[in-house]
Amino acid sequence: MNSNNLKSIASEHLWMNSKSWLQSKKEDGPRIIIDAKGIYVTDSEGNTFIDCNAGYSSVNLGYGRPEIAQVVKDQLNAISYFPQASTTEPLIKLVEKLASITPGDLNRIYPVTGGSEANETAIKIARGYHVRRGERGRYKIISREGSYHGATGGVMWLGSPNKVAEFGVPYPGMVYTSQPNPLSKKNKNKSSYDYAVDCANEVERMILYHSSKTIAAVIAEPIVSQMPDEVVSPPDIIYWEMLRDICDRYGVLLIVDEVVCGFGRTGKWFGIDHFGIKPDIMTVAKGVVSCYVPLGAVIVSEDIADAYVGGDNLFRQALTFGGHPAAAAAALKNIEIIEKENLVNNAAEVGLYFLNKLNDLKLKHNIIGDIGGIGLMLGLSLINSDSVNESLNDDFSDRLKTKLIREGLLLRTDGKTIHFGPPICINKNQIDEIISKLDKVLFEL
């Protein structure tokens, strides 16, 4: 079947993530990827691109690793699934591995198939934990404005109620606090430290306002991975130190969402490793398996998990595809390669190089505003260089996207910000390639 046929079938039958099929059609799409290796992908017209965002900042290892395909095939040929109430070898090895690379006593692992399910499960575990401790009233969840934690009913209301307003009445118990992003528009020229202290104090204020007896958990990404129209920098370490302390003082569980940050993205195994604190529950997805197969996991402190032991304390939840042996085998191999090829250090080193290059680029282009991020989770904002307060229009956004694609860069942009989350195997030469293409596009604009 040729690609035009496929495109017309797609526009008739396929419903893609957050995409209008009429829009796709107008753009002569959707683009169909037929080959993918490392940081490069090729479409059905033969155009090759750098995937600057590695899928959804998720293909950490890069595309096309035959070792992963091989272990998946071997596992499927041994046992492709499992009977109820039983398990398989690769899953046991995976949970042991996850326990060994996560901080402290984060040792009890509930496997799921994606980030939304992981965060849903984390919240259920937190609520059920309080019920088991006789505190049934603790159901509210504190999240930070602008954060994203998933698309299903229990997590889509976290971070922002208005983005999902068309999906009905909000799930009760959502409490919002400020995002501790030092580059936030809400930060009126405070130092990173002072702003972090303000934001952490706000969490405590909200706990007291709602009464600590009603708060189940705080959920947060260690470093927020995307903000609408904003570039993100890591919060000062004081934010996380205070947050841990506040949660401990009020008996609130701390859930760290490492779905994007985990597995080397920020130059450490986990984003929270930058801050030296231990969450009660950690959620992972994406990078845990570099999107070779769907997988996510909830990693729980022993003392929290132990509330579910004995008597009638069972955690009642089943997901058909949780604990899939082929996904587990893929994730194990993925982690093994990240370790063997030292890709976490690579993300730190090449990420710093990338950041410096972006700063150099800013000296040449007035259109670049803020630059921020850490490891291979970076971003820049685009500003109207003639009049700082005037925002860039849609026409500009369209021209920018068109030119980036013509230069061979696929990346995430809303026209006001550009995000980078490439495979963490990327090298400095490839960064130079991205920078020079970006340079060219910005000059043309």
Partner: protein, 456 residues
Amino acid sequence: MSNELREKALKYLWMQNRDWSQMAEIGDPPIFVKGEGIRVTDTEGNTYIDVNAGYNSVNVGYGRSDIAEEIYKQMLEVNYFPQGTTTKPTIQLAKKLSDLTPGDLSRVFPVSGGSEANETALKIARAYHVKNGDINRNKIISRRGSYHGTTAGVLWLGGGPPVASRDDFEPMYPNMLHAPQPNLYRCEFNSLDNSECAIKSANAVEDLIKFHGPDTIAAVIAEPIAIPQGAVVPGDEYWPMLREICDKYGVLLIADEVICGFGRTGKMFAMEHWGIVPDIMTVAKGIISSYLPLAATIVRKEIADKFADEDNYLKHTLTNSGHPVSAAAALKNIEILENENIIDNSANMGKYLKEQLEVLKSDHQIIGDVRGIGLLVAFEIVSDRKTKSIFSPDLSIPDRLTEKFFKHGLIFRVSNEILNIGPPLSITRSEIDEIVHAIDLSLWEIEGELGLPVND
């Protein structure tokens, strides 16, 4: 080696619906290393029949190397895709599902499991009404005793016995309404025939809509044949009436085919038994026989088209939506279902299984009812056929049955008095005989232990 693995599992793994301290006491969990057809083999070399095919999900059976090969090839070619792009197998799967599903169900949103598929269906239904200007159509009607998933947006659908209590996870999601289940054996209206129970159950849905006001109701969601209460096949009046009621009041009808779909009931989709086209259909499990995670939400053209243009697109993103490797596996799986006559086999073997269970029922007083269609069959254990009452929980009948079945070579996990049988659809007559024989022996043993009178 296997003891070491078991220790690690007990230390680090949080298994579905299992308590590691209780598993430690009984030498669990079993660890399986090999699967072939309907059989699985553990680390000690013991082989068992997996009576429920995973979670009624391994429809083509274990050990299909052709699916493994397809997955391998696709993973080498394109293992994933950049944001905003797609891949060949995902497009081909969307087309295939549009072709297979009834009526104008033709727009496919791929996801990675049944919970996500139902969550997506509800989001589409609610946003559809908002786009129509019906901003108050937000309530969802489901049936007591049903199950539609475990994430918060779908966890509160259905519920009630025999579904596990949700009281650990309060608060309840807003705007959930619950209607009776058209389950003749335990009909809420005490109906004596299936038609009457079906008609009264459907009328109850209409009453709920009228009570709350039609302009507040977004959708009705239901399994064509409900599983938790044990393969409940409604009277033939039920689905046509439900379709009519939904049309009358502008309510969307969502059919959850997560278990029923892909041949489980002897047809490709269970809705085909009544020739009814739902507005949205959700599928998972059998679509890929659990070789990898995959599910989908399939929407009628006129509903989906509300979301077609740039100003109205559905704001919904799941990283694993449209995964090319899962799509390739599903395409192969569907090809096997079609080429190897597996769906006809499901109809025929299901009929045979049900007949054999009816024979067991005549021998065992503790079987209260046998029902189902295709290879979705169930029977209920009762202490008294007349009152349909169940044994005291103190007797731990479900756990004891699970143990007996295991001893007789079956993995057949029982969690309440309703026993669902949903094996791979590739099962043969002699394999069914093996299962029925093991059930027969297990029931004799239980009856002996309970000191029950034995039929001759």
